[in-house]
């Protein structure tokens, strides 16, 4: 009886897909409101981000970048969801979610400064509604509930979206954030990018739940499992969740099934210790870039020349961004002290004076 109930519940969370691995549309009714130009732009962004990921890994190895969490494989999940947002929407990213904030308008050179550990990498430009990548897994979820409630109270026509991984869905803050947003009917979108591993721990070791999407039931909010390698499905699901939020119907949980081709981070992780090459091969067949490329090529909307152009532009812009990061003035302790408070308390005023004197020598 009990297990029957569980099966019934899990039956509600079947994976949502629009385009299959061959780039064929398998769910015509769900095809989103995207023009040919939109689809080309999505392809451009995914190719650009793949190149950026490759360059970032290499720049990290050269010591020209610091902390970096690879994103190859997650382009559809990251960029398809961001593409469904309006400019006024808030993004509250986790540590891997740098592409979303960059495509929302955060300058690439500042993303590189974030990687290196420079405070200017956290100085979000005025009017851009994003936060710096969150390192404490789960903290972004409860904060998003607050941002979304704020947007609702200020009667803004916008939503807050946040991202975590499959491991993050085991945190208390994940449940609290979803539950708070549900209780306040706040316009939030919670995206769990299930890339199969939390460092070395496989997703099925995090929970007995068959899907992460079904965890939405605990908060009494809709949940949906999406093919995270299918940019059309991710876009469409995010768009639906956004519309629900704007209509005052509250938050949604989206689980995107995806994969990271690279290591967890560039800080010494070795995926061959926990992942088989068979598994890598299997997921490479589902590559979100290959899929959309096939679809677009079939419609004569994409070509090798076009792709090469994107690659060249990406490489040039990345080079320029690294140069701009290099040219950023070094941090001083006095800068760090000044950023602590609006009105500095006496002990920090003393220390500011002390360091300014040292720095003037």
């Amino acid at each position: 009886m009990a297990s029957n109930t569980l099966e019934q519940a899990e039956g509600h969370f079947e994976m949502f897909q629009i385009m299959n691995e061959e780039g064929e549309i398998v769910n015509e009714d769900a095809f989103p409101d995207l023009t040919d130009e939109d689809l080309q732009e999505l392809m451009r962004r995914m190719v650009y981000t793949r190149i950026w990921d490759q360059r970032a890994v290499s720049l990290n190895r050269q010591g020209r970048l610091g902390f970096y969490a690879p994103v190859a494989g997650q382009e559809a999940s990251m960029l398809g969801s961001q593409y469904a947002l309006d400019q006024d929407d808030w993004i509250v990213p986790g540590y891997r979610d740098v592409p979303q904030i960059v495509w929302h308008g955060f300058p690439l050179y500042q993303a590189f400064l974030f990687s290196r550990g420079h405070y200017h990498g956290g100085q979000i430009p005025e009017e851009l509604n994003v936060l710096s990548p969150q390192i404490i897994i789960g903290a972004q979820i409860v904060q998003t509930a607050g941002v979304a409630l704020g947007l609702k109270k200020k009667e803004k026509n916008s939503v807050a979206i946040t991202y975590t991984g499959d491991g993050g869905a085991s945190q208390g803050d994940f449940y609290e954030g979803m539950n708070f947003a549900g209780s306040f009917k706040a316009p939030a979108i919670f995206v769990v990018q299930n890339n199969q591993f939390a460092i070395s721990v496989p997703a099925d070791a995090q929970t007995s739940a068959k899907t992460i999407a079904q965890k939405s039931v605990a908060a009494g909010i809709p949940g949906r499992q999406v093919d995270g390698m299918d940019v059309l499905a991710v876009y469409a699901a995010t768009k639906d969740a956004r519309e629900r939020g704007l209509a005052g119907d509250g938050p949604s949980l989206l689980e995107t099934l995806c994969y990271r081709y690279g290591p967890h981070t560039m800080a010494g992780d070795d995926p061959t210790r926990y992942r088989t090459s068979d598994m890598d091969d299997e997921w490479e067949k589902r590559d979100p870039l290959v899929r959309l490329r096939k679809y677009l090529e079939n419609k004569d909307l994409w070509s090798e020349d076009r792709e090469n152009e994107v690659v060249d532009t990406a490489k040039e812009e990345i080079k320029a961004a690294i140069k701009q990061a290099d040219d950023t003035p070094k941090q001083k302790v006095s800068d760090l002290i000044e950023n602590m408070h609006d009105v500095l308390p006496p002990h920090l005023k003393d220390q500011l004076e002390e360091y300014r004197e040292k720095e003037s020598k």
Binding site: V142, D173, V343
Partner: protein, 325 residues
């Protein structure tokens, strides 16, 4: 002017700021229609509406996450943690997140959050209600920690805390909520953060203290006066950062000091006060600076509070030791 208890002064401060600034929001567990477990928010929801004063689900981490998110969208949150022993549920939200928001964004964002929370022994609460955990907060850069000891200070300090553009942890001693009344102006006024107050002038020994121990120390001072020792009582009011200038000025006058706190010896902020005195006034000292604290055990079972909490006789004893050193 009106005679108010500390809890009435606190309610009055919130009412003042809810009136002054439409971005002020008051929320927490049972703070809405119920008016708070200590009646601190009594009447506020009916006066300002459910949009401004509201209940939350029972989850402290969620409450501080809510505060940060609301800050980012232009609000000025006044959140309540029902008892400060529950802060462990939200150490990340307070010490890991809101304290760092201005710094991590290079000044682009800030969290003008006031975290109100009751604490303190002497009222026989169950486990983890009364613990003095201000020391944990005091070690988090980016936070101010305020502990009033009187109705007048409570109102002025709370208004200052709410208006501060950075997070302030505002700790309210449960024993002081209704223990006495004081003249409190009905109009708005502020008491400066980061400033201690001399609550009794004296020339023989400085007693640096805060919270309920201010009253314990004042009682000790009466006893000491009968024995010819005039103690000067410095009420820190803001325990992080501490007002070093006021402390040092007093120590330079009396040449002797005792630091009194309700927290355990290894906790609280007494060690910091002693270190500052050593650094800034060692040549003025006639005796070592001693501490009156609770013992280094877990906060006592209710029936053992009387033998565990520091009382005025402990203060008298330590003051005499430094005077007769």
């Amino acid at each position: 002017m009106a005679q108010m208890t500390m809890i009435q002064a606190i309610t009055d401060a919130m009412r003042t700021e809810l009136k002054n600034d439409e971005n002020v929001l008051v929320f927490g567990e049972d703070v809405g229609q119920y008016g708070g477990v200590f009646r601190a928010t009594e009447g506020l929801q009916s006066e300002f509406g459910e949009d401004r004063v509201f209940d939350t689900p029972l989850a402290e981490s969620g409450i501080s996450g809510l505060s940060i998110g609301l800050s980012l969208t232009g609000f000025r949150p006044v959140m309540e943690i029902q008892f400060f022993g529950f802060v462990f549920e939200t150490m990340d939200g307070i010490s890991g997140q809101m304290s760092r928001l201005r710094y991590r964004s290079g000044g682009q964002y800030n969290a003008p959050v006031t975290v109100r929370s009751p604490f303190g022994g002497g009222v026989k609460t169950p486990e983890l209600h009364a613990d003095s955990l201000e020391g944990l907060m005091a070690q988090s850069p980016g936070l101010r920690v305020v502990i009033p000891s009187s109705p007048y200070d409570a109102k002025g300090l709370l208004i200052s805390s709410i208006r501060d553009n950075d997070p302030v942890v505002f700790l309210e001693h449960m024993k002081l909520y209704r223990s006495f009344r004081e003249e409190v102006p009905e109009e708005e006024y502020t008491v400066d953060l980061d400033k201690a107050a001399v609550k009794r002038e004296g020339k023989d020994v400085t007693i640096v203290t805060y919270g309920a121990m201010v009253h314990t120390s004042l009682k000790a001072a009466e006893q000491l006066a009968e024995e010819g020792i005039e103690a000067e009582i410095v009420d820190l009011r803001t325990v992080s950062p501490i007002d070093v200038d006021t402390i040092i000025e007093s120590v330079k006058k009396t040449n002797r000091a005792v630091v009194v706190q309700e927290a355990q010896k290894q906790a609280g902020i007494a060690n910091h006060v002693v270190a500052e005195i050593n650094e800034h006034a060692i040549l003025h000292l006639e005796a070592p600076v001693l501490r009156v604290t609770a013992p280094d055990t877990v906060f006592p079972f209710a029936a053992a509070e009387d033998i565990w909490l520091p009382d005025y006789t402990n203060v008298v004893e330590k003051a005499k030791t430094v005077v007769n050193f």
